[in-house]
């Protein structure tokens, strides 16, 4: 049965990625079901972010395949730009376009990639900004916003493209502690609304509450996967037990 029909939104098949002689991902295989949230946890340097970046080819796998809705995006002849327009990504350090105001940050790709008229793009941006709790800041520059506000803009910017999948790469790690909760709430609402999400995070509570599946990675390999309660309450490996002891 094809992935599109059986509800698999993202499939990693034997994905291996090397930087020079270092193998940062070793034969990763993983299915992300449509409408579910998968949280990837693990120590730093375990390959979590690289796996995320392989999902939209910011990093290109050396071996193996990545399929989105059953379509192999790693194959030759893939329209990478068209694929990326359907995969939203939120970064640790926001990466807003610093020369553009909030409105233009959200509408730029709509106008350039989706070829939308400015009025239509701005209407969509206003709705999206309202959804992440940012009203009335449309004409501010990124430098005039708090970290939490910047990350909300980044989320709105990605969501405005109406992606099929959202990737979050440690989206709260660079935020002041009091701003983390607000962003996690936005992410939780998004997950509950049925978005397919792949989330690299250190927020174990978020993973436990929101994730349908948790993936524990170490040294470029998937060590354990499972439902959050199973993984957090009954870790099946000493390595995961050790990691949880350190972070919880």
């Amino acid at each position: 049965m094809s992935d599109a029909a059986n509800g698999v939104a993202v499939r990693f098949e034997q994905v291996t990625k090397r930087y020079g002689a270092t193998e940062v991902l070793s034969e990763i295989s993983l299915d992300v079901r449509r409408g579910s949230t998968t949280c990837i946890i693990g120590p730093s340097g375990s390959g979590k972010s690289t796996l995320l970046r392989c999902t939209n080819l910011l990093a290109r796998p050396d071996e193996g395949r990545v399929l989105i809705d059953g379509v192999d995006i790693t194959g030759p002849g893939t329209d990478v730009d068209a694929m990326r327009a359907r995969v939203g990504m939120v970064f640790q350090h926001f990466h807003l376009f610093s020369h553009l105001d909030v409105m233009d940050n959200v509408t730029l790709a709509l106008r350039r990639v989706r070829r939308m008229a400015r009025e239509e793009a701005e209407a969509r941006a206003v709705a999206q900004l309202r959804a992440v709790g940012l009203e009335g800041l449309e004409r501010r520059r990124p430098a005039e916003l708090s970290g939490g506000q910047q990350q909300r803009v980044a989320i709105a910017r990605a969501l405005a493209m109406e992606p099929a999948v959202m990737l979050f790469d440690e989206a709260t790690s660079a935020l002041d502690p009091e701003l983390v909760k607000g962003i996690l709430n936005v992410m939780r609402d998004l997950a509950l609304s049925g978005m397919t999400m792949l989330v690299v995070t250190h927020e174990m509570r978020f993973a436990r509450e929101v994730a349908g599946e948790v993936v524990f990675m170490d040294r470029g390999r998937i060590v354990e996967t499972g439902a959050p309660d199973r993984l957090f309450d009954h870790p099946g490996t000493a390595r995961l037990q050790q990691f949880l002891d350190q972070v919880l």
Binding site: N56, L58, D81, A82, M83, R84, A85, R86, V87, G88, M89, F91, H93, H95, L96, F97, S98, H99, L108, A109, R112, V113, A143, A154, R157, A158, M161
Partner: protein
């Protein structure tokens, strides 16, 4: 001792001579110098931006071609390049501008400036945060769209002060076009001063030219420095007094 000083005064600072040449310098030389510098800088910016984009392009052939251009034009004495282009093109039958020496002068300096400005632009384009480029690509924007909408606007803004600094060098660089032989009304500051110095067997006209060059370049240099300080302060998110 006194006679030595008097001779120096006569040779370089003959007030009568300076007063005599100054009106022509101001009326003909100054506008021509500024016009040449502006034309050459415009050519230099267009060429420089194109070459800078090429230096960062993906195809290795393009990068190599642009690198060769920059290395050659920065590596040659300017006087040689001006001669080769300004005299050479018309001789070789490539009379792009007919017999208009002025245009060849602007073109040759512009092509040289293109090489220097390419390096300035390249530094500016490369200073744009890598993450913003990734964010743009992640949204499905093409390499070209990312260049036009994200990298160029930010990169160019950051290099405006060094570009203006380069313009100061162009003003001085225009002095070299005297060797292409300009008609009387086309002469810039240096050509007029040199003609006058030869005709009168006295160097004071060149002193007059020097005064004009300094009046142009020194205030601009200070303005650029102040501008750069302000931009740096803005980027660090506030001014500091240390």
């Amino acid at each position: 001792m006194f006679r030595g000083l008097a001779r120096i005064q006569q040779t370089f600072f003959d007030a009568h001579m300076i007063a005599h040449v100054m009106p022509t310098l101001l009326r003909v030389g100054l506008p021509n110098t500024i016009l040449l510098a502006v034309l050459a800088s415009l050519i230099g910016m267009v060429v420089g931006l194109a070459i800078a984009t090429g230096l960062l392009a993906r195809p290795a052939v393009v990068r190599l071609a642009c690198r060769v251009y920059v290395d050659i034009l920065r590596g040659l004495p300017h006087i040689l390049t001006i001669y080769l282009i300004g005299q050479g093109l018309p001789i070789a039958g490539l009379s792009l501008f007919g017999n208009d020496t002025y245009a060849y002068a602007a073109l040759s300096i512009g092509l040289i400036e293109g090489a220097y400005m390419a390096e300035i632009f390249r530094a500016g384009l490369q200073s744009v945060e890598r993450g913003q480029i990734e964010a743009a690509r992640t949204l499905g924007m093409t390499r070209w769209q990312t260049m036009r909408d994200i990298i160029l606007p930010q990169g160019i803004r950051r290099v405006l002060p060094p570009l203006t600094g380069q313009f100061i060098l162009v003003i001085k660089g225009t002095a070299l076009v005297f060797l292409l032989g300009l008609t009387s009304s086309q002469r810039e500051i240096f050509s007029i001063a040199q003609d006058s110095a030869i005709n009168n067997a006295n160097l004071s006209p060149l002193t007059a030219a020097g005064i004009l060059y300094l009046a142009l370049t020194v205030p601009m240099t200070y303005a650029v420095n102040a501008w750069e300080r302000r931009l740096r302060g803005e980027r660090q998110g506030g001014r500091t007094d240390v």
